[in-house]
């Protein structure tokens, strides 16, 4: 574990993974929102 005490390693190692994971999650969430905004309008117009 790179010569670090276990406490330091387990508190510090996950952060980069956590941030990249959050970035990917937010990317797909926002992408879905963008697509839904457009599709939602289209289906709304069909119902008019």
């Amino acid at each position: 574990m790179f010569g670090l005490p276990a406490e330091t390693f387990y508190w510090f190692a996950p952060w980069p993974v956590l941030w990249i994971g959050l970035a990917l999650l937010m990317y797909f969430k926002l992408k879905r929102e963008d697509e839904r905004e457009e599709n939602g309008v289209s289906s709304g117009r069909r119902g008019d």
Binding site: G3, L4, P5, W15, L22, A23, E33, D34, E38
Partner: protein
């Protein structure tokens, strides 16, 4: 040019020539955007809201990571060991949180309100001149402190790089920043930031790889640290100084993970995005850049504990490492990266100070009828004025100025995070709430720091300011009048997004384009074109 030569003068070696070309490139970018900047005040102050995802992400990061990152961060790691990385771990996610929380909604709402500056945005959203005045005063004071510190860092970095004496170095470094900002406006600032963010990451990753290789890798570094003092490897700081103080640790993580949402010169990047959809790709760009960049300066601070045990000034960790162990081109690249960090923050601060003075003070209270040409001229003159004042202050090198940078960051963050977030998430957030939130956040942070309440309570000033600012917003909202129906509708519309499909939008633009052209020709006194609809 004699004052640049000889003892303390410039040494025109290969590295200095490379750096001179780099400065020339920045001026060229300023020149390229100067015509577009003069087109309208919207173009000058906000780039016509045309900035794409990669540039949005990298200008945000270049602006956020100042020269302090190359001096304060390594110094903290040099003094406290791995504990300093708490700050880096929060910092690595700052842009992801900032863009995710504010990006899309602030982009939409600022456009709907016609706001060109983050302070004007607050004034219009909360329908209050008082909000705008308080926000302007807090911003100008603490952004100015930031500007002065960056200018001093620019002078020092250029002195290290070229061997020039401080004053001419300051004049050249700041002169370049002021010139491309005054002439090229916002777009010159974001595009130079884009280039500088790339130089920053190349420089710092390169030197960190070289330093770790020199020490035999991360495991060997930690073994050497343990031999010097095992507490350097602890999460609680040297001699376990912060053991059990989770309030301090939480503050260390939060200040840079959410603090950027309160910095006017950073949140303006949301307002200038090409479209709300720009946000999602910008998140990926900034996440990647951050993971490459943010940890490296702190790791260099750890390396210096082993390599430079007798270093007297911890803030000089990076220049000392560069010149002692990696002289030549590596040192030049690293110090160029330091200069890039300083310049990419300075230009944004300068631009924002000029924007607030011209848009939120001059146009709001002095000349409401000012046309585009006049506003562009006034903005340029005010940016120049702030630059001149900045040089005058920096020439005297006021002491402890970097302490003021951290202080200024905290006060800006505590003043504006809650009002910005509430502005897009709560349509009921009102002017009394915004005023209470800004004032309580700022005052709490100032008092907590000045009275050293952190050592008594084990609570970081940023946490205290954030809690009080939040309480101010919640309680203030009970007393003030609710926002007008129009503002509530705009906030709702900013949440919902576009009302028409992309196809309809595109087709309607195509249909209306000839009409728009004819109206423009009519205004100019020309005949309508024959191809009109």
């Amino acid at each position: 040019m004699e004052f640049l030569q000889g003892e303390g003068g410039i040494e025109m070696n290969l590295e200095t020539w490379v750096f001179a070309v780099y400065l020339g490139g920045l001026l060229l970018i300023g020149y390229i955007f100067s015509k577009r900047a003069a087109r309208s005040v919207d173009d000058f102050l906000l780039g016509g809201r045309s900035v794409g995802p990669a540039v949005t992400a990298l200008t945000m990061q270049g602006t956020s990571m100042s020269g302090y990152m190359f001096m304060g961060g390594p110094a903290l790691a040099f003094q406290q060991g791995w504990y300093a990385l708490w700050y880096a771990f929060g910092d690595a996610g700052g842009a992801i949180i900032n863009i995710s929380v504010l990006g899309k909604r602030m982009r939409r709402l600022s456009e709907r309100l016609g706001a060109l500056s983050p302070v004007e945005y607050l004034g219009k959203r909360y329908e209050s001149s008082l909000v705008q005045v308080i926000a302007s005063v807090i911003s100008i004071i603490f952004i100015s402190v930031y500007v002065f510190a960056q200018f001093i860092a620019a002078g020092k970095a250029l002195t290290s790089l070229t061997g020039m004496s401080y004053l001419p170095a300051l004049l050249i470094g700041v002169g370049v920043i002021v010139l491309y900002t005054v002439f090229g406006g916002y777009l010159a600032v974001v595009w130079t930031d884009f280039v500088q963010a790339i130089i920053m990451v190349i420089g710092v990753v390169g030197i960190t790889a070289a330093a770790l290789t020199h020490l035999g890798g991360l495991t060997h570094l930690n073994a050497s640290l343990s031999e010097v003092d095992p507490s350097y490897l602890s999460i609680w700081g040297k001699d376990l100084a912060y053991q059990g103080q989770w309030g301090v640790v939480l503050g260390a993580v939060l200040i840079y993970s959410i603090g950027y949402m309160g910095l006017p010169h950073v949140v303006v990047r949301h307002m200038s995005m090409k479209s709300p959809k720009t946000a999602r790709t910008a998140i990926l760009w900034s996440a990647s850049w951050n993971q490459l960049f943010v940890f490296a300066p702190y790791i260099l601070g750890l390396c210096a504990i082993v390599l430079l045990p007798n270093l007297s000034d911890p803030e000089m960790v990076i220049p000392e490492l560069a010149y002692t162990f990696f002289p030549g081109i590596l040192a030049a690249i690293l110090l160029s990266a330091v200069m890039a960090a300083v310049m990419s923050t300075s230009d944004s601060l300068l631009m924002q100070a000029g924007t607030i003075l011209s848009r939120d003070i001059y146009q709001r209270f002095i000349d409401q009828e000012a046309d585009h040409a006049r506003m562009v001229l006034v903005s340029r003159l005010l940016i120049l004025l702030v630059g001149i004042i900045g040089v005058a202050v920096a020439a005297f090198e006021p002491p402890s100025v970097f302490d003021l940078v951290i202080f200024g960051f905290g006060v800006l963050g505590n003043s504006f995070i809650v009002p910005y977030v509430a502005s897009v998430y709560s349509k009921k957030a009102n002017r009394v709430g915004a005023v209470c939130s800004m004032v309580l956040g700022a005052v709490t942070h100032i008092l907590w720091t000045e009275m050293d309440l952190e050592s008594v309570t084990a609570v970081h000033p940023f946490i205290a300011g954030l809690i009080l600012s939040l309480l101010g917003m919640v309680i203030g909202n009970f007393f003030g009048r609710a926002p007008s129906q129009q503002i509530q509708n705009e906030v709702e519309a900013a949440k919902r997004g576009r009302k028409v499909s992309r196809a309809l939008d595109r087709n309607s633009s195509r249909e209306l384009a000839p009409e728009a052209r004819n109206i423009e020709r009519h205004i100019r006194g020309l005949q309508p074109s024959s191809g009109s609809a």
